[in-house]
């Protein structure tokens, strides 16, 4: 601590009083005078005495700074810890059984149980044992109990679909063992996958608390590393083809070794041979596949199954819903604006089908069929349509409207009632860039690209309740939103063709229309594919939460949970059904890809880990690393003395003030 760079830097501060005092003795006693021809040196060197007295003040100030620096360093006095030695005390055996997805392979889990039984048999009388299941989370099965109690719980240990990260496991273990007083022997029973090694090796070293010795006992499972097949990904192309990527770890794909079967909604559709591949990666393409409307369960299953069968199948969800209809009211269905809007909305991830209709021929009674609509030019809206639009928005519909060339004569914006301050022809106005974007709005999450858009706008004066989403540098609104009743009205103060704005020909237009459509249609997209042992965010499903059904058809939420739950743990592989206010959604869950790679950590790495934890401990042996044991505990064996430095600082401040005041009284006068 005393050689910490910041501490040494703080000590440099001690030079400050010395420098200031040196300055004072030179400058304050040396004064300019017009001439010294009439002066005579005094015989007594008074200023030398003064320097000596100032040195006392300087010393006080330096001492104050030194105390301050030491107080910030939080110095401690150590009490010699009591080292507990194995043999003189009981031992706490911590059995950590890997239950991650890879433990489904072969007989690994049974082997793990046998290892545990063997360890329990070797326990001495008086020793205690704990049993933990280690996967994505660390589950306590038995805490500090007898060997018999642990033995009873061993059959309950089961592999799940999570992923084990050894760094996360040790971090969780540190919290569990914080209050343990005995020496600990950590028995880790696992296949020790290379992909499970922590990114930082130091994260795998458990803390040593209360001077307790920790010894690591590595129980590695699986003498051989089998080749393991998995379906890595599934992609649906053009709503007619399914492309599956098949990978094998620790081997290569031989011709005819595997077949890939495609199932749609539980029905087998096609089976193809997986082509041979020396790199271990092959692609299988299923053509002319017919999908049902809406959500489809798309499974790819490899046969025959290998020793780790659960990753031979891949679950995927494909949304084959037809494009959502969007009403576009326009003065001219062949205008450029219609073309731009149709193109942008058809490329949105959800897919929208624009139904362009002329305003003068539009029957307002069909408005309610559409969750939202677009008006290309508000200047062409008739009073009857404006009244119908007002009712439509109040009732929960949403509108995106623009001011086109027919808005030249507008003095008030229909529906919103906003004044148009300068209804000059669009062509006479100057273009300006965008300067202010409210990127917190859901329709503007991707706001990059707006700063290059040039827009000539109608100067609309917003009302207090309006939210300005985009404005120009003259604080002129470009995009305004008003919430009316249960609906939204979004106004673009320029045209949607490229006569007054280059927005429709900019890339940002496509992403903006996609986000705006999703926002105005009140659709929230769930992530349709998740990894096992991750959490499904129910808030993404829109509005409140909903009911969730796991792949076995079991409802996961209670009645109260359906309105309050924010997230659900997806611990099974397969299809989860999520019932939301806007409909039913499917979520496919697959195991973490890294769990399929069964390559183990090298023997050297395991040896280094063991050595780092407890010196030269060998498997099954219980020894104490006295060096680690003597490392003091921060909580119990140290006495903080920074408070004494604070008291000393208070005394120094008092002394410095008194002495400084004396000097101030002494140094008065003119000349």
């Amino acid at each position: 601590m005393l050689i910490a760079p910041l501490f040494l830097l703080g000590l440099l501060g001690l030079a400050l009083p010395w420098w200031l005092h040196r300055l004072e003795t030179q400058i304050t006693e040396r004064e300019l005078f017009s001439t010294t021809r009439f002066l005579e040196p005094s015989k007594k060197r008074i200023h030398v005495q003064r320097k000596l007295r100032y040195l006392v003040l300087m010393a006080l100030r330096m001492a104050f700074l030194a105390f301050l620096v030491f107080a910030f360093a939080r110095p401690v006095l150590f009490k010699k810890p009591e080292v507990k030695v194995v043999g003189d005390d009981n031992v706490h055996h911590v059995l950590m059984i890997d239950t991650s997805f890879s433990m489904h392979e072969g007989s690994k889990l049974n082997d793990a149980r046998e290892h545990a039984v063997q360890i329990l048999a070797n326990m001495k009388s008086g020793d205690v044992a704990s049993l933990y299941a280690a996967s994505s989370t660390l589950t306590t099965l038995v805490d500090q109990s007898s060997a018999d109690e642990v033995r009873k719980q061993l059959p309950a240990v089961a592999a799940d679909n999570g992923r084990l990260d050894l760094g996360a496991m040790v971090a969780a273990l540190n919290g569990l063992l914080k209050n343990s007083k005995a020496n600990v022997v950590l028995h880790v029973i696992s296949d020790f996958q290379l992909t499970g090694q922590a990114v930082r090796f130091a994260d795998m070293i458990p803390d040593v608390v209360n001077g307790r010795a920790v010894t690591l006992d590595i129980q590695q499972l699986g003498a051989k590393t089998p080749a393991n097949y998995m379906v890595e990904s599934v992609v649906v192309e053009n709503r007619a083809s399914v492309i599956a990527s098949v990978r094998v770890f620790n081997g290569e794909i031989a011709a005819g070794a595997k077949k890939a079967g495609l199932s749609i909604n539980g029905s087998a559709v096609q089976t193809l041979d997986v082509p041979a591949s020396s790199s271990g990666l092959a692609t299988v393409t299923f053509k002319n596949v017919m999908f049902a409307e809406g959500y489809n369960k798309v499974d790819i299953r490899l046969s025959p199954a290998d020793t780790l069968a659960d990753d031979d199948v891949r679950y995927t969800v494909f949304d084959n819903s037809p494009p959502a209809p969007v009403l576009l009211l326009t003065p001219d269905t062949k205008s450029l604006g219609v073309t731009y809007l149709t193109a942008a909305l058809s490329t949105a991830p959800r897919g929208y089908a624009v139904e362009a209709k002329t305003i003068k021929d539009f029957d307002t009674r069909v408005l309610q069929r559409y969750p939202w609509l677009i008006i290309e030019d508000l200047g062409a809206v008739t009073p009857a349509l404006a009244a119908a639009l007002t009712d439509y928005v109040h009732g929960g519909g949403s509108v995106f409207a623009a001011l086109g060339q027919r808005s030249n004569t507008l003095t008030t914006v229909p529906v919103l009632g906003l004044a148009v301050a300068a209804p000059t022809p669009v062509k006479d106005q100057a273009t300006a860039l965008i300067s202010q974007i409210d990127s917190s709005h859901p329709a503007l999450n991707d706001s990059s690209g707006w700063n290059t858009v040039n827009v000539r706008v109608y100067k609309v004066v917003p009302a207090a309740e309006d939210r300005i989403l985009i404005a120009q540098n003259r604080n002129t609104p470009v995009l305004i939103e008003r919430n009316i009743g249960a609906g939204h009205f979004v106004l673009f103060t320029s045209s949607l063709d490229n006569s007054a704005s280059d927005l429709p020909v900019k890339p940002v237009f496509v992403s903006f229309m996609a986000e705006l459509a999703q926002y105005l249609s009140n659709e929230k997209l769930l992530v349709k594919e998740q990894t096992a042992d991750s959490y499904l965010q129910l808030t993404q499903s829109g509005g409140g939460s909903g009911q969730v059904e796991d792949p076995n058809g079991k409802k996961l939420l209670s009645l109260q949970g359906t309105t309050q739950a924010q997230e659900v743990l997806l611990n099974l592989t397969g299809y989860y059904r999520v019932f939301t206010p806007s409909g039913e959604v499917l979520v496919a869950v697959n195991p973490d890809r890294r769990e399929s790679d069964l390559s183990p950590m090298s023997a050297k790495t395991l040896q280094d880990w063991q050595t780092s934890v407890a010196g030269a401990a060998t498997a099954g042996a219980v020894a104490v690393d006295t060096a680690l044991a003597s490392k003091p505990s921060k909580d119990a064996n140290e006495i903080e003395i920074w408070r004494f430095f604070l008291l000393g600082m208070a005394a120094l401040v008092l002394a410095e003030s008194l002495l400084g005041n004396r000097y101030l009284n002494f140094k008065t006068g003119t000349f």
Partner: protein, 303 residues
């Protein structure tokens, strides 16, 4: 409640601190002179009267502009009109800008007060139609402007004064020698300095001017802290010209220093008296009326 501003005498304009607040040196001179003249409770034209005195027959060398042509028409003889105060004197101002003139304990240096005084004298002389010149010197002549009475010469003098800065050491012999080389005509010579020089050196250099027939007045500028210093603690003083540092005690400054500076002032006075020059001691914290009054008295006496 409305309050009325207290009426202030024009004499306050002669306070150097008030003058220092004016940025333009010409304005300073004008304010100082007008304030001084009004303060006399006499005609603002005092000293500058153009009152007719007598006729004199035109002689060779007289300016034909002053011939009274009406008299000539009646008598066919040329007469010159003479006026009171008409002397056409030359005024030469010598301003010391050595480093010691930069000293000032009241926020105003001796050089600044010297500039105010010189500008006021130049303005006063200019109104009297006297030719005015200026020489700024330290250990050599730093700038020189010969006497002139034409329009615009006053601004030139004031500009020269304005540029003066306290920079170098004092050595009066070299500038005075140069000045004697330039001066041709008899007139008034005003020397503004703190006279931190040897008395004998001053005598040697000013006496030739007196011999030439110049009327010399010495304005001796000293700061109140130079005349009566107050020191409560021992202090190290650094000479502004030489950089020499001397540590002095309050007791010395209280007694012995004052005796020495007074002796020096007396020596300068005596030397001036011996050369038939006027010596005026100016405390820079006092107003300028004493200096201006001395000048007018001196001019009246000599003119």
């Amino acid at each position: 409640m409305a309050t009325t501003a207290p009426s202030r005498s024009p004499m306050h304009l002669l306070d150097p601190k008030v003058l220092a607040s004016l940025s333009n040196l010409e304005l300073v001179a004008k304010m100082a002179v007008e304030g001084f003249v009004v303060g006399l409770h006499r005609s603002p034209k005092f000293g500058f009267s153009q009152e007719f005195v007598e006729y004199r027959a035109y002689g060779e060398g007289d300016d034909p502009r002053y011939i009274d042509w009406n008299v000539y028409a009646r008598t066919d003889k040329t007469y010159i009109k003479r006026f009171l105060g008409e002397t056409n004197s030359h005024l030469m101002i010598l301003l010391d800008s050595s480093a010691s003139m930069g000293y000032g304990s009241q926020g105003l240096s001796k050089l600044q007060v010297g500039k105010f005084l010189a500008a006021s004298l130049a303005y006063m002389a200019s109104r009297q139609h006297d030719a005015v010149g200026v020489m700024v010197f330290a250990d050599e002549v730093l700038s020189y402007r010969p006497p002139a009475s034409r329009s615009g010469s006053l601004q030139g003098v004031i500009h020269t004064l304005d540029k003066a800065e306290a920079l170098k050491g004092t050595a009066i012999s070299k500038p005075m020698t140069r000045f004697q080389e330039h001066i041709r005509r008899r007139g008034l010579v005003v020397v503004i300095s703190d006279f931190y020089c040897d008395t004998q050196e001053l005598l040697d250099n000013v006496r030739p001017l007196a011999v030439q027939g110049q009327d010399v007045i010495l304005f001796h500028l000293l700061d109140p802290s130079e005349l009566a210093p107050e020191l409560k603690t021992s202090t190290l003083f650094e000479d502004m010209e030489t950089g020499q540092a001397i540590e002095v005690s309050p007791v010395f400054m209280q007694k012995e220093y004052r005796e020495r500076i007074n002796a020096h002032i007396s020596a300068i006075q005596n030397a001036a008296s011996g050369m038939n020059c006027d010596h005026v001691l100016i405390n820079t914290s006092d107003s300028l009326d004493k200096a201006l009054h001395s000048y007018l008295t001196f001019r009246e006496k000599r003119g």
